[in-house]
């Protein structure tokens, strides 16, 4: 079964182009124009999500965190249209966060070859390799360490089962 990819971008033409391009690569691709739509779609499983960094309402990183609550193993690519040396400090912080949080961070306009290569490489990785990180996502860093460990173990089990 083809890997499932969710593309989230508020710009219709960009969204459609990305969806079609990835479909041509043989993936099962769905598009979402905003965070709400994306979260609804994430009731189903996706292997990878491509998010626009700057979107009205919720930025790509906030949305990614919400999606990861639903699908902890999801791989992520943030597409940033952000310009270098932006003087808005919030933007700079959010951008730094995106670089840390997302599995990959690419600048718009990204070349098709580069995007496809990045998608391929991410999908080739076993998401559970980084199980501690996934555990953290699930626990959201809020519960006690004990609970965290238990949940982590549980989610790991769950993931393995799904994967096999």
């Amino acid at each position: 079964m083809a890997d499932r990819i969710l593309v989230v971008d508020d710009e219709k033409t960009v969204l459609e182009a990305l969806v079609r391009s990835l479909e041509l690569e043989g993936y099962s691709v769905e598009g979402a124009r905003n965070a709400t739509e994306a979260l609804v779609k994430c009731d189903d499983h996706f292997d990878l999500v491509i998010l626009d960094f700057i979107m009205p309402g919720m930025n790509g990183i906030e949305l990614l965190a919400r999606i990861r609550q639903k699908i902890p193993t999801i791989r992520s690519i943030v597409l940033s249209g952000k310009l270098p040396l932006d003087s808005d400090e919030k933007q700079i912080a959010a951008d730094l966060n995106a670089r840390v949080e997302a599995d990959e961070y690419l600048h718009k306009p990204v070349g098709d070859q580069k995007l496809v290569a990045t998608v391929k490489a991410l999908l080739a990785k076993d998401p559970t390799d980084n199980w501690q990180e996934i555990a953290r996502r699930v626990t959201d860093g809020k519960k006690s360490r004990l609970a965290e460990a238990r949940d982590a173990a549980r989610s790991l089990k769950q993931m393995r089962k799904k994967h096999d």
Binding site: L18, L79, P84, D86, K108, P109, D112
Partner: protein
């Protein structure tokens, strides 16, 4: 021997009234005239006592001095002989330089009151001479001057004990009530009459208003502190007519001295000295010590009216300003001039009879010329050292505003362009991919796709560059080591060059501390190197591709150079290289070069280039160190 019949002039008694009331324009001038007489008599002090007129008091003004006093014969000669004065002859051997020369000062008392009592006593005489004059008697056109008699007596005067001497003028039947405001105005007028820098030597004016300590006291004029004015021009006419001049003030850290010959012969006024104090902003009272603006003349410590008064624009400063508004740089209300002349040193600068102004002589014209030249010098100083830098500043601000507007537009545009570029790029790839999937392998289509892709990359680079310029702080000046910074920047550029097969050579000194805007430097360097990389893209021959970044110092300027050994800039492009949106052979970097130039110019620098066909291009950026604010 036959005697020819002869006629003689006779003066009507009324002539006195004409002189006394008409020639002395104001009460202040009249009092000053009498004070000057006291000075001329060798006194070290003149006391002015004013008892204002009131319902109970008739009021009087008493001006007394401790000068030499007069005997009866001397009184007849000096006081009673209208128009007689020994003073011009006295000048050469007098210890003190007399201020009066016309012999009419005595009539000034008529301006103040109709009755005058003179009590005068010389040294070593027991009795004083007392004379009572009723000026109203002279107001008769029918009588002759000598028909009016003046009674006198010689008696012991309680005012002058044994060894004392001097003259007392008691003026009664005052013409003015001398209320508080009038005394205050006299106080100010007297102060303004004294040269603040060179007051009359060994002489003191003491004003007493019985019952008022506020109005009583020594009259003095504090000079303007030389720490306050922005421009100070001091000048002196040498014996040979040359002028020695010094320029100092807050605007100048070091005094500038020069000696030169003015355009008009200045030997008649040799010894004249003066100072122009100029404030760039409106000075406050504390700074001016209450002195009114204007260029004033003081002779032997006493002011010569009306020079420097508000109404007398005798050097034509206000007129010039009125005519040329923005181009006349000297604002009359900010100029305080003090010119010192002396009856002894410049005898040719003579008073007019009214004691106002000077006779129009060669010497007077020469003085006006010298002062006008100093004024021009002041004007030139304001122009070059204040106005021009201000214009420069305005220009810079305008350039900076233009840049900011351009940047704001650019950054908005850049954000906006990213989306369609992404679409175009992806769609072009889709066409290529899809056709291949459909089994159509077509070189044209693949090349087109590749070309679109490359073009988009180029557009994107431009966008990033503009954004970099736009968002960087292009105003702040900081001190940093430019050599270290350039080496760091080059480090980032090396891989970019290497990927195009270009060697990045650095000729950067160990250290070069500068005070500049860092964003400007990084932006300009990035641009120029990128430009050079682009230039190499057209080179097809086998020579090793090279870009050299060098830094050096030339005086106060920092010289940054970026040179390539590519093909050079074609002749037809050269004149347009820094034009906005020139996108021709410069590899689409027209906006970038335009922005670079704008940035460099904003910071007082220059950017130029030198190019040779098939040998390469060298861009030279000259940046002077800037002042660090705050």
């Amino acid at each position: 021997m036959s005697s020819k019949p002869e006629l003689q002039f006779e003066a009507s008694a009324y002539l006195q009234t004409l002189i006394g009331r008409e020639l002395f324009r104001t009460e202040e001038v009249a009092i000053v005239e009498l004070v000057k007489n006291a000075y001329d008599s060798g006194a070290t002090a003149a006391n002015i006592v004013i008892r204002p007129r009131s319902p109970r008091e008739p009021g009087e003004i008493v001006i007394s001095d401790n000068g030499s006093g007069m005997t009866l014969p001397r009184f007849k000669e000096l006081f009673m002989f209208a128009g007689y004065s020994e003073r011009p002859q006295e000048v050469s051997n007098a210890v003190r330089i007399p201020t009066g020369e016309k012999g009419i000062g005595r009539f000034a008392s008529d301006r103040l009151g109709s009755r005058l009592q003179v009590i005068t006593k010389v040294k070593n005489q027991a009795k004083a001479l007392c004379v009572d004059i009723d000026w109203t008697k002279f107001a008769n056109r029918q009588k002759r001057f000598h028909d009016i008699t003046v009674p006198y007596r010689q008696e012991l005067a309680p005012e002058f004990p044994a060894n004392e001497h001097g003259t007392i003028l008691r003026i009664t039947n005052l013409r003015e009530p001398w209320d508080r405001s009038q005394v205050q105005s006299l106080q100010r007028a007297l102060a303004q009459l004294i040269d603040p820098f060179y007051p009359p030597p060994n002489f003191e004016i003491n004003l007493q208003v019985p019952g008022s300590t506020a109005l009583s006291g020594i009259i003095q004029q504090e000079p303007i502190s030389e720490k306050e004015p922005d421009i100070i021009i001091r000048f002196r006419v040498n014996d040979d007519g040359s002028i020695r001049r010094t320029r100092r003030g807050k605007l100048y850290s070091d005094p500038e001295r020069d000696t030169f010959h003015p355009s008009v012969d200045s030997t008649p006024i040799a010894g004249l000295s003066g100072v122009f104090l100029y404030f760039l902003g409106r000075p406050n009272k504390e700074q001016t010590k209450g002195i009114q603006p204007g260029v004033k003349i003081y002779r032997d410590g006493f002011r010569v009216q009306p020079f420097g008064s508000e109404a007398a624009d005798w050097l034509g400063i206000a007129e010039k300003r009125a005519k040329r508004a923005g181009h006349a740089h000297v604002v009359p209300s900010r100029l305080f001039g003090f010119v010192a002349i002396s009856r002894k040193v410049q005898p040719k600068l003579q008073d007019t009879t009214s004691r106002e102004a000077l006779l129009d002589t060669d010497a007077a014209r020469s003085m006006v010329n010298v002062l006008r030249e100093q004024l021009l010098y002041l004007e030139e100083s304001v122009k070059t050292d204040v106005a021009a830098p201000r214009w420069q500043e305005t220009k810079k601000r305008r350039a900076s505003a233009t840049l900011q507007t351009l940047n704001m537009m650019s950054i908005g545009l850049a954000h906006e362009l990213k989306q369609p570029l992404q679409t175009i790029r992806t769609e072009a790839a889709i066409i290529d991919k899809r056709l291949r999937q459909l089994g159509i392998q077509d070189a044209y289509i693949s090349t087109a796709q590749r070309n679109i892709d490359q073009s988009i990359e180029r557009i994107d680079r431009n966008i990033r560059l503009i954004a970099a310029v736009s968002s960087g702080n292009t105003d702040e000046i900081t001190r940093f080591d430019l050599a270290v910074m350039l080496r760091d920047e080059c480090q980032l550029l090396v891989p970019r060059c290497a990927s195009q097969g270009i060697e990045l050579v650095q000729a950067i000194p160990e250290n070069q501390v500068v005070a500049l805007n860092a964003t400007t430097i990084t932006t300009v360097l990035f641009n120029l190197v990128q430009n050079a990389i682009e230039a190499h893209a057209d080179v097809n021959d086998s020579r090793p591709k090279k870009i050299t970044v060098s830094l050096r110092k030339e005086g106060a300027d920092n010289i940054l150079e970026v040179a390539d050994n590519a093909l050079g800039i074609p002749d037809e492009i050269k004149p347009h290289i820094f034009r906005r949106f020139n996108t021709n052979k410069t590899g689409g970097w027209g906006v970038a070069l335009y922005n670079c130039q704008l940035l460099v110019k904003t910071h007082g620098g220059e950017i130029s280039f030198d190019t040779q066909a098939r040998a390469g291009t060298k861009f030279t950026v000259r940046m002077p160190n800037m002042e660090i604010h705050g």
